[in-house]
Each structure stands twice: as structure tokens, then as C-alpha cells.
């Protein structure tokens, strides 16, 4: 991962400086409200972008901050989605309950698998995450008595949000709900990465051998962040299940793992905002291209990715950082 941001000599001052909210961040979050007023017909898309952004944020925590490249992240997303969906089929259709349950279930799976994850790096790690993801996909397919198999889970009934706001066809509730969850999780993640724990993670990413040598328990840190990221991925899955009232094997697909990785790299890994920006660009581009040409839009998405790599290495945000002096001053 080519990105170097040297911590200042005094780590506490460095952390403090990092934790300050920049004006542009406030502008960014204010801008997320624009769809309500200017694009009310794009709210369904906006809510799915927010969910993808949450999912990418979760991947960023492990990839951008701890150097764990995962090609099986959809497994956690999917477990969250199935948990929320299954609860609703049993009559517990309250969205917040499902959201919490999705986070817990995915967090548990993340905790269990983290014991394997923390032991490996490089290609072995990528392939083990991929393998685990595929295994869980297959388990869900086999357990059709529980999951509905490839037809998808039937009878998902999601209640109104907070007991008052049903999920409407236009996606007002869906977007408001997804956006609030994204923002709350983002604030949490922001605090997390700007804590001493976050700094230790970055140390692991840059040099996994040295960190234990200076007294930071590397595998324990990795397990912790992986579990947190898993819970967030589970929340994203639960959100998708609830806002669309559908759960199918698609939530566990390899393609979903690959897409979220592409979104994150596109935006720039290791920024928190990278995943969000990447999700916005990828999803909007995909929506527009596939609207124009439903058969061949892959070409334009591919071209977009190639151009980003050629002209904006390190992702969109990575390049903005080089161009914007205010950002480098902050670090």
C-alpha cells in the first residue's frame, strides 16, 4: 500500500490534529441531504449508495487501516442481511432490532474467523477470505429450509422505522435511515482510527513484524478491528435487507466482495471517506451507464477504473490529498 503519512513527533498532538473536523467534511455531510430536495426521484439509489458506502467503510477499516485485503467481505454483509431478514419472517420486523441483530451476528462470525485471519497475510490471506466467503455462500444455498436457497428468503416483512415511518416506494424512509446509520457509524469509525488503537493499526499495516516488537499485540489488534468491521458490514447487510425487503444469495456473492473492493480502491483506501466517495462514483456511474446501455455498460465502468488508475493513482482521494495543501498540513 503506497501511502505515507508520517506521524508528527508528538503522537498525542498528531491524534488531536487528526480528530479535528475539517470544514470540508461538514460541507460533505451537509451535501448528503441534497438528494431529499433536488433529486427526490433518486432516493432509492441514494439509499443503496449509502449502504454500499457503509459496507466500503467497513472494508476500509480492515484494508486501509490494518492492511487486510479481503475478497470475502460479502460473507459478513450477507450474514447481517439474512439475520435481519430471518428475524422479520419470525415477526420481529422492527428495523432497529434487525440492524442490531445483524451487527451482532456478523460481528460474531467476524470474531470467530478473525482467529484465522490474524495469522495470515498476502495472497494466502486474500484466498482464505475468498474461500470462507464462498463456503458461507454454499452453506446458505444448502440450508434452503432456513434461507429459502436460491429463490431467496420469503416472507420478509419489515415494520415501520421507529414504529412510525413505513418504507415507502420513493425511498424517503430508506435513505433517511441508511444515511443516519452511515453517519453514526462514520463518527464512531472516525474516533476509532484517530485513537491510539487506530495508530497501532496503521503501524501493523506498515510493518507487521515490528509492532509486536515494540509491545503492541498485533494479532489481538487485528482481531479486534476485524470484529468491529464485521459488525459494520453486517449492519450494511441488514440495511439492504430492510430497505428492499429482500434477501437472496446475491448478498453473499463473490461479485459483491469484488465490487466493494473496487469501490474502496477507486475512492482511496485508508481515508474513511475513500469508501464513501468510491461508492458514490461507482454506483452513480453504474446506474447511468447501465441506464444508457444495459448490455455493454461494463465497458464504460472498466474504462473508468483504468482511467482512474492511470491519472489518479491511489484513488480519487489519494490524489486530491496531493493536490490540496490543507490536507497535508493537517497531518
Amino acid at each position: 500500500m503506497a501511502f505515507t503519512r508520517t506521524a508528527a513527533a508528538d503522537p498525542h498532538r498528531h491524534l488531536h490534529a487528526q480528530a479535528q473536523w475539517q470544514p470540508i467534511e461538514l460541507v460533505f455531510w451537509a451535501a448528503t441531504l441534497i438528494p431529499f430536495f433536488l433529486f427526490p426521484k433518486y432516493l432509492a439509489l441514494a439509499s443503496q449508495i449509502a449502504i454500499a458506502a457503509l459496507f466500503a467503510l467497513s472494508l476500509d477499516l480492515i484494508l486501509g487501516y490494518a492492511g487486510i485485503v479481503s475478497l470475502g467481505h460479502a460473507a459478513l454483509f450477507g450474514v447481517g442481511a439474512y439475520t435481519a431478514g430471518l428475524l422479520s419472517t419470525l415477526g420481529w420486523g422492527d428495523p432497529l432490532l434487525g440492524l442490531a441483530a445483524g451487527a451482532v451476528a456478523a460481528g460474531l462470525l467476524g470474531y470467530v474467523t478473525s482467529f484465522i485471519i490474524a495469522r495470515f497475510r498476502h495472497l494466502a490471506l486474500i484466498m482464505i477470505t475468498l474461500g470462507l466467503g464462498q463456503l458461507i455462500h454454499e452453506v446458505a444455498n444448502k440450508a434452503s429450509w432456513l434461507t429459502g436457497g436460491s429463490d431467496g428468503l420469503q416472507g420478509v416483512r419489515i415494520g415501520p422505522l421507529l414504529g412510525r415511518f413505513p418504507f415507502d416506494l420513493y425511498g424517503y424512509t430508506a435513505y433517511a435511515y441508511s444515511l443516519v446509520v452511515l453517519f453514526v457509524v462514520f463518527v464512531f469509525a472516525r474516533r476509532l482510527v484517530n485513537s491510539p488503537f487506530g495508530l497501532a493499526l496503521r503501524g501493523i499495516r506498515e510493518n507487521p513484524v515490528r509492532m509486536p516488537a515494540i509491545g503492541a499485540p498485533s494479532p489481538a489488534h487485528v482481531r479486534k478491528i476485524y470484529t468491529i468491521a464485521a459488525a459494520i458490514a453486517g449492519m450494511a447487510g441488514a440495511l439492504l435487507a430492510q430497505t428492499t425487503s429482500t434477501v437472496s444469495l446475491g448478498v453473499l456473492d463473490f461479485q459483491r466482495s469484488a465490487d466493494v473492493l473496487v469501490m474502496l480502491i477507486l475512492g482511496g483506501a485508508g481515508w474513511l471517506y475513500g469508501g464513501i466517495v468510491g461508492a458514490i462514483i461507482f454506483m452513480v456511474a453504474r446506474d447511468q451507464f447501465s441506464g444508457i446501455n444495459p448490455q455493454l455498460w461494463y465497458f464504460w465502468i472498466g474504462l473508468l477504473l483504468v482511467c482512474v488508475v492511470m491519472f489518479l493513482p491511489n484513488g480519487v482521494l489519494g490524489c486530491l490529498q496531493l493536490a490540496a495543501p490543507w490536507r497535508s498540513k493537517a497531518s
Binding site: 426521484k41 424517503y172 433517511a176
Partner: protein, 391 residues
């Protein structure tokens, strides 16, 4: 936050009534299919069927211009399909939702169809229950149970008493397996063994060998269309299974034109139960195949005829309602529609809104130097065995 949401909700309601008023003069049809990805070819054929019907019948019916809006789901993605359907309804103000190659996507959109009160034409997806999930849907393809059960009944009728089944391990495969086994056992046959194979399975020889070890009288197979039928057919030949000694019975995907081309002589003797083949001998089909070839330089398949007949349902229903495109009028008009389709007699069941049609039993034989599906038996007025009983 509460107040804001309530305000936005009322805005949505206002927008919705505005939307309903706006669509005059044109009837918009939102077509949702996986145009890209693994199922792209089936969707392309369905889309060709839609295009051909509109070319032959004009894009105006009952004084309304028909406008098609195409949306890609990229594969099995009910979440995407749901969003696309929402957008088609709220942003593009479509009157009719159509397409649906894959069952999970069709199931998801059925909810939108029911909620937004939109007429829905399922042109391929074959899981039985879909049709029950929206009161406004009509199906113009087939259901796997109806085909599987036809295959089972025919197998017994032809004198076979023992069968082994090999299906892909996912919902359609299990549907086909259950329907075949039920029908075959009910008639008096015996299932000597069964295997379910992974959905993404590039190589079949181990499974074929397992079947061969039992040397059953017959083998029933179901695998999804695409690369797998040819791979399975070749594995039968390589493992030395002679279709003349062990009857191979399947659904139509197995002996699809491109699959048979790929298998070559290994396909000879395979028996399938299916509702359409481009060789079906009738005037409407000959015209259809000729026009299709002139337009797209290939033969139509079941996807194409599903799209073609789906458009026929839309056009005929609109004619009956005099251009009124609300879901209640359209579904009332569609119920009981009856005509001679390229596939043979076709009826929209007035009770279930599902398809009632002839299922043909065909065998791959050499005609001249071509390998073709030759029809040699048929079952008329076949309904889905599950929904036929229910009302």
C-alpha cells in the same frame, strides 16, 4: 427528524398522484432483466422476442404508443431489481413491469407490482410461487414443475420403471427434481438414486460415473442453460453412457440449440420435455422463425418466445381495455386470453394467471446433417401441478 420525514412523506404522496396523471398517450413498459453477466444471452433472446413483436405489430396499440425502458440487474440481485422497479415506477412512471429472467428478481419485483399496482408480465422466471405474489402478474414462460412432471409422466408411459435423477443444487433444480420424482412415483415408477450437483460446476464426469455405477434404466437431468448442458452431455458420452441403453431425459435447456451444437453426436438420443423449439411444425412458428432469423441472424429459443408472447399479452390486454393501463383493468383483460402462439396453443389461466400450454416430448435426432429436437409426443393443456390444484 420526525417532522422532516413526515413532510417528505407527504411530498412523496403528492408526487405519486402527479405521476399517475402524467402518463397519457403513451404506455411505458419497464423491462427488468440481467442484460449483462452470466444470463445475458437468455435476456438477449427475450429482448429479441420483444423487439420482433413490436416490429411486426407496430409500436402503437389502442391509440397508445408503447415505450420500452430497459434496466439491467446484472444477475441474481433482487435488491437491485427492487430498486430498479421502484425507480421505474416513481421516476419513469411506467405502467407495466416486464421481463424477469430470474426467479429471485421476479419475486422481489412482485412486491413492488402489488404495492404500486402495476401490471407485471413474467417472461421467463419459472418458480411456481411467483405468480401468487402479486395479483397483477401474468406469466408467459412455463414452470419447471409442469415440465418436470410431464417428463416423469411420459417416462412411465414409455415403459420405464426405474430412474436416477441428477439436478443442479439450487431452487429450480430442486423444483424439477421434486416434480419429476413425484410424477414418476405416482405413476408407479421407482427412483433408484438421486444426486444434486453444485450450481457452478465445470466438470461432470464424477457425477456421471456415479450414475453409471448404478446402471439405471433412465436418468433425469436438470442443469441451468449456458455452458453446462454441453459439458454434461459430453461427460455422458465420455463415461460411455449409451442413450440407447440408458435413456437420458431432461428439460429443454439440455438440448438447447447451442448445447446440441456443442455436444455434436453425443447429444443423439437425449429426450426432453419442453414447451418450445424452433423446429415446432406450425404455420405461426414457421413465420416467427423466419422473421426472427431475418432480424437477428439466429434461431429463437424459449426465451425469445417468452418475450414475444409476453408482448402479445400486453398488446391484446391493452386492446381489450381500450388503452387503459391501470393494473386492475389490464389483469382482468389478460385473464383467459387464448391464442395460437409460435409454441402452440397458449392460454392465460383465468384463475391462476399462469400459463396453460402444450408440453412436447422431443428427442435429439439427425435430420439431414443437422441435430434437431424432433417432437414425437405431447401433453396438452398442461398447468403447473402445484398451482393447478389451488385457486
Amino acid at each position: 427528524m420526525h417532522k422532516m420525514l413526515a413532510l417528505l412523506g407527504s411530498m412523496a404522496l403528492a408526487a405519486m398522484t402527479a405521476a399517475a396523471a402524467s402518463a397519457q398517450g403513451t404506455v411505458k413498459v419497464g423491462v427488468i432483466m440481467p442484460y449483462s453477466g452470466q444470463f445475458a444471452d437468455l435476456s438477449a433472446q427475450m429482448d429479441n422476442g420483444i423487439k420482433l413483436y413490436m416490429k411486426q405489430n407496430g409500436d402503437t396499440v389502442a391509440g397508445k404508443k408503447i415505450e420500452i425502458i430497459r434496466r439491467d440487474t446484472g444477475g441474481v440481485a433482487p435488491d437491485v431489481a427492487t430498486r430498479l422497479a421502484q425507480e421505474l415506477v416513481t421516476r419513469d412512471n411506467v405502467d407495466i413491469l416486464a421481463g424477469f429472467t430470474l426467479s429471485p428478481n421476479a419475486i422481489a419485483v412482485s412486491k413492488i407490482s402489488a404495492e404500486a399496482k402495476k401490471f407485471m408480465v413474467i417472461m421467463n422466471a419459472a418458480t411456481t410461487v411467483i405468480i401468487t405474489m402479486s395479483p397483477y402478474s401474468v406469466r408467459t414462460s412455463m414452470t419447471l414443475p409442469s415440465v418436470g412432471a410431464s417428463a416423469g409422466m411420459w417416462a412411465y408411459k414409455s415403459g420405464l420403471r426405474k430412474a436416477y435423477t441428477m439436478v443442479s443444487d439450487f431452487a429450480p433444480g430442486k423444483d424439477a427434481e421434486a416434480a419429476f420424482q413425484d410424477a414418476f412415483k405416482k405413476a408407479g415408477g421407482e427412483i433408484v438414486g438421486a444426486v444434486r450437483m453444485p450450481v457452478a460446476n465445470p466438470d461432470f464426469s464424477a457425477f456421471v460415473q456415479r450414475a453409471k455405477d448404478l446402471s439405471p434404466e433412465s436418468i433425469f437431468i436438470f442443469v441451468p442453460g449456458g455452458a453446462q448442458p454441453a459439458a454434461l452431455g459430453k461427460a455422458f458420452a465420455e463415461r460411455g453412457i449409451d442413450p440407447n441403453k440408458i435413456k437420458i431425459i431432461g428439460t429443454g435447456e439440455i438440448s438447447d440449440e447451442s448445447a446440441v451444437k456443442n455436444m455434436g453426436d453425443a447429444a443423439l438420443g437425449i429426450i426432453t420435455a419442453w414447451h418450445y423449439d424452433h423446429t415446432h411444425d406450425s404455420k405461426p412458428n414457421k413465420d416467427f422463425v423466419a422473421a426472427y432469423n431475418a432480424e437477428f441472424k439466429r434461431n429463437p429459443d424459449f426465451g425469445a418466445v417468452g418475450g414475444y408472447d409476453g408482448m402479445h399479452v400486453i398488446y391484446e390486454s391493452l386492446k381489450k381495455t381500450g388503452g387503459k393501463a391501470d393494473a386492475d383493468s389490464l389483469v382482468a383483460a389478460a385473464k383467459g386470453l387464448k391464442w395460437e402462439s409460435p409454441r402452440g396453443p397458449f392460454q392465460v389461466d383465468p384463475e391462476t394467471r399462469d400459463v396453460v400450454q402444450t408440453i412436447y416430448v422431443r428427442q435429439v435426432r439427425k435430420v439431414g446433417d443437422q441435430l434437431l429436437n424432433v417432437e414425437f409426443d405431447k401433453m396438452e393443456n398442461v398447468r403447473d401441478p402445484g398451482s393447478a390444484g389451488k385457486k
